[in-house]
Structure formats: C-alpha cells, structure tokens
C-alpha cells in the first residue's frame, strides 16, 4: 500500500535532505484522499462490531431461532428491533444473520479467487493446450447466467440438509470464471515485463518467478478480485435464499426476508420484520462496492489521475 506512494522521481539525495515520512503517516495521508475506501471499511468495521458485541451480549444460539420470544412484537425497549411471526428476536437474528452472510461471502470469495488465481496462472504462464482449454471453458460458461444454474443446483439438493457451508460451496461453484480471466490477463502482461526477464536470466526457476516476482505484483488485483468475489457470493446466496432455496433453519438475512414475504409481513403490518434485514444488506452491498472502488483506485494510478 505504502510502496505505491513512495514510487516517483526521487530527488537528488545530496542536495535536498529528503525525509521519508513514516509508513503510518503515508498510509494516513493516502486514506484521506481515498474516501470511498475509508467509508467502505468504516461500514464493514461497524457491522463487524455489531455482530461481535451482539453475539457477546445476546444469547443468539437461542433467541435467533423460532419459539424463543413473544411473536409479532413491534420494536420496543425489550426487543429493540421487534420480533417475528415465529417468535424470533430480530436483534439476535440480525447479529447471527449478518455473521452467517459474511461467512458465506468470505468462503465464496476465497474459493472463487483461489481457483481463479491458480487457473489464471496455469493458463497464462504455461500457455498451449492448457491455456486453450481453460479459456474455452471460461468463455462458454461466462454468458450463462450463473444464478439460474445455481437455482437448479440448490433445488436438487435435499432442502433439509442445506447448511450455510453447502450454500457457500454452491455459490462458489460458478464464481471462478471472472477471476480466472482477470488473473490470466494480468499474468500475461506481467510476465513480459523487464524484471521477470531479468529474474529468468539470473537463473530463477519458474516457481520462484511466480511466487517471488509475479505474485507480489498481483496482490492489489487479487485483493480486488476477492472483494468482488465476496460481493458476488453474498449477492448469489441472497438471490437463492429469497427464492426459498436457502438453509431454512438458519437466520440468514435472505431467509429472514423470504420468511417475511411468505407471511405477507407488510400486508399484515409487521413492517419491522423485512425492514432490518433489507437495510443490513444494503449496507453490506454498498460497503463492499465502496471498498472495491477504493481498491481500484489503489491498483490503477490512472483512475486516480482522472479524478
């Protein structure tokens, strides 16, 4: 992060005593310029604090599941966010639901990006048959709306056995094509750079070049790809669960909205039931997008200049 800020024409060391500010100051200065990154991170930290403090102070193991509290209560001092039709405390539901949603997103993002990095490297670095094969598969799969395939996969699984982990795995099944393409393009440009050639001439092995020369330079892209992977994972799992294909026993945010819709919550006047999960998801999606825009600026100095 700070490396980027330090690059640039270095003044002649003898004429001007150039004092390099500390890493912390530089990072602070950069963050002041990159507002979307800061705002996005702030929302994520706030949501994390909400879940951490919530699960420490509330018995979410019990209160987030049916028949725990008095049903259909509007927000009050006792139930700050109200309770739902099935007798769940919505505050506990939100604490647990945000956590589970985050877990699904993180797993899907990690798998998608991981597979993407590996396939992208294989494809770009070795070329030939491997490249043709990986590219053909990615290109044919990309135009197919992954979500519809996910609907079929999720529908084929016995609904009672769906957990948040199977959900995360299902969502990541079709999440690797995008990252693969991005990583392949990046490796292709990086491997022709001078420093890689120098490394090769100085006798580094292929693996050493990949891990010591190329991978470190791709970190911003990998990070950005991971954040979009988390976004896409949460997006897809949300879509599946509002269709009623989620792990119905869990208080996942999408499930809560689905249950509220099934019980016609607005029609019956229980407005608080679908409202909190919707707002929480809006916060999650907006924060991830802000972080992504911020990372894009970090990784692409050209975008920075255009602003």
């Amino acid at each position: 992060m700070t490396q980027m800020a330090a690059v640039g024409p270095q003044p002649d060391a003898q004429e001007i005593r150039y004092e390099q500010p500390s890493r912390l100051t530089l990072t602070g200065r950069y963050l002041r310029r990159n507002k979307s990154l800061v705002l996005g991170l702030a929302i994520v930290i706030a949501l994390t604090l909400f879940t951490v403090i919530g699960s420490l102070t509330i018995d979410t193991e019990k209160r987030a599941y049916p028949l725990a509290v008095k049903p259909k209560q509007p927000p009050s001092a006792e139930y700050p966010l109200g309770t739902d039709f099935f007798g769940r405390d919505l505050l506990a539901v939100m604490v647990r639901g945000i956590w589970q949603t985050a877990v699904i997103g993180l797993i899907a993002g990690a798998i998608g990006t991981g597979v993407g990095v590996i396939l992208g490297f294989l494809s770009a670095y070795y070329g030939g048959v491997v490249d043709t094969l990986i590219r053909a598969i990615t290109e044919v799969l990309l135009p197919i709306p992954a979500f519809l395939i996910l609907v079929i996969i999720a529908g084929s699984i016995d609904r009672k056995s769906v957990t948040i982990y199977t959900m995360a795995l299902i969502v990541s099944l079709l999440a690797w094509m995008g990252p693969t393409r991005v990583m392949r393009a990046q490796v292709l440009t990086l491997k022709e750079r001078l420093f890689v050639n120098v490394a090769r001439l100085s006798g580094m092995s292929n693996l050493e070049i990949v891990f010591k020369e190329i991978l470190p330079n791709m970190l911003p892209f990998i990070l950005a790809s991971f954040v979009s992977g988390v976004f896409a994972g949460i997006f897809a799992s949300f879509g599946l669960s509002v269709l009623g294909l989620g792990p119905l026993r869990e208080p996942l945010i999408g499930n809560t909205i689905w249950f509220a819709q099934q019980q016609a919550a607005f029609f019956n006047g229980w407005w608080w039931w679908p409202l909190w999960p919707s707002l929480a998801l809006v916060l999650i999606f907006v924060s991830l997008t802000l972080i992504n825009v911020g990372l894009d600026e970090l990784a692409n100095p050209r975008v920075r200049r255009a602003e």
Binding site: I152, G239, V242, L243, V286
Partner: protein, 334 residues
Amino acid sequence: MRLAYLVKRVLFLIAVVWVAATIVFFIPRLSARNPIRERFAEIARSTGFAPKDLEQIIAAYEVKFGLNKPLLQQYVEYMGGVLRGDLGPSLTRFPKTVLELIFSALPWTIVLLMLTTLLSFALGNLLGALASWPRSPRFVKGLMAPLMMLQAVPAYLLGLLLIFFIAFRLKLLPMGGAYSQGVTPSLTLEFILDAARHQILPAISLILASLGFWALGMRGMGITIQGEDYVNFAEHKGLHPRTIFTQYYVRNALLPQVTGLALAFGSVIVSGVLVEQLYGLPGLGGLLGDAILKNDYFVIYGITLFVILSIAILMFLVDLIYPLLDPRIRYESR
C-alpha cells in the same frame, strides 16, 4: 469475411446453449430427489390422501414422463425435445406443457423488462454523458456517487424498500400483484391503467438498480473521448456545443455501451425474475418462484433453458446490429 465471423459466433452461442442444457439436465439427475414421490408425499401431508398402490402410481408416472429409461437415452431424448421446441410437461400443472406456461407468462416479463431496460439505458447514458461533459451543471456530477451506491444494491432489495416507503407507509401505489383483486383481465383502458399502476414500483426498482451501471460506464467513456483530437477540432471549428455533444460525444461514447447491453441481458433477466417474484407478478419470475416452491422440475429447467436461449439470441442480434451503428466495424479479418 463477415460471414465467417457470424458463423463462428453462431457456433459459439450454440456451444453455450448446449453446455447450459447439459448442465441443466444432469445436475438434478445426480441427486437422490424424486420430484414425483415428493409431490405425492406433499399431497399426503396436506390432504391425508395416501393411496395404497402409491409405488405403482409413481412408477406409472415415471413411465409416462420417461424417467425409467437409461440416463443417456433420456438425455438424448430431452435434447431432441429441446431442439423440437418441446420442453416437456409440467409436473404439477399436467397436462399443461412447460412451453404453454412460459408463453402465457412471457408477455408480462417482456413488457416489464424491455421497458425498464430501454428507459434505464437511455436515462443512464444521458446522465453519464452529461456527468463527463465539462459544461454541464454541477448537480449532474453530484448524482454519480448516489447512482454508484444504488447500482450496488440488488433490485429486489430496492423493491422491498419501495414497497415499505411508497406502498406501505404513503399508500400511494399497490404493494404487489399484477392488477387489482376482483378485476378480470381484458383489453379495456380501465384494466390497462390498473395493470400499469401495478407495474410502476417493479419498474422503478429495476431502473434504479441498473441506472448506475450505464451512467458510470458512459462517464468513463466520455472522459476518454474528451481529449480526442476530433472533439478539440470540432470545438475550434466553432460548432455549437449541443452539436458537439450529440454528434461527436454521445455518438462515439455510446458504441461500447451497446456491447454492454448484450452482456447486461443476463443480469437484467435474473433481477427481473427476483423482482417479479417479490411483487407477485405473473411473469417468468413468478412462474419460476412458484415452480421452485412446488418442486416442478420440468418448469424450472424449461425456464432456465428458455432464458439462456433468449440471451444467446439477443447477443447474436447485437452482433448483427453493431456494424450498422459503427460504420468502422465490418467484421473483416485481414
């Protein structure tokens, strides 16, 4: 050669549809679920009707739907059916076929998605072009940040919040449904107005969710075009700013956006499906949501395949239209 390019494109799109159809066919067969058995279990649970010869009935249904044949033979027959435009019967609304169900739902979806996509495309591109245009008022530029945030939110969630604020709190518009209860669909002005009133909220949620995509893309294009020589030249020639904006600026920046339109169809249809399900509209999305609840497998596959096929066709159409919009492109490989 242009023809060679088109043939290549067609082959590619056929490959896409074929892969999708294969995935759609095999995934459910690998699972242990039996939709017919589940259907009868559901009937037994809800009505207490449990015939003694249940196994025979299930077997008879499996013969009827061809589920007892070897998997590969079923695959070949299913693909043959898809080629003939036969997507199989509906398991829960038998004797209706999947295709009949799709075609009765299609008009609703087409009207909603076409209107919202075109409106969003026009409005978004206009806003984006204005945001990158140096002479436009400042408030247009200020619109970009909110649009970016809106773009991050799924249309389904926007729809839910719109229901809360506009239909539930302010009671301005209906909360859902395609038309008021007790009204029979007919081609009278009264009915059309009533149906249109019910489409406003779904349409707004779809437009708001996609506006940012077009606006941000267009602004990016506009910024790169700003420095182009031909724009500078047009300015020095003393052309009217409006002429420069429409003829030099928008015309050139719009081209990549049209390609984006082809790519956007997939996400438009997916969010359309979810929004229809949210508002209880009788389109493809409502049909899909219903089929998922009732385990009507053939309907689920049918809709999925139908959507993927339409996306492939739309992508091909954009390929065909593109050279008309951009005279520089001739699909010639030299």
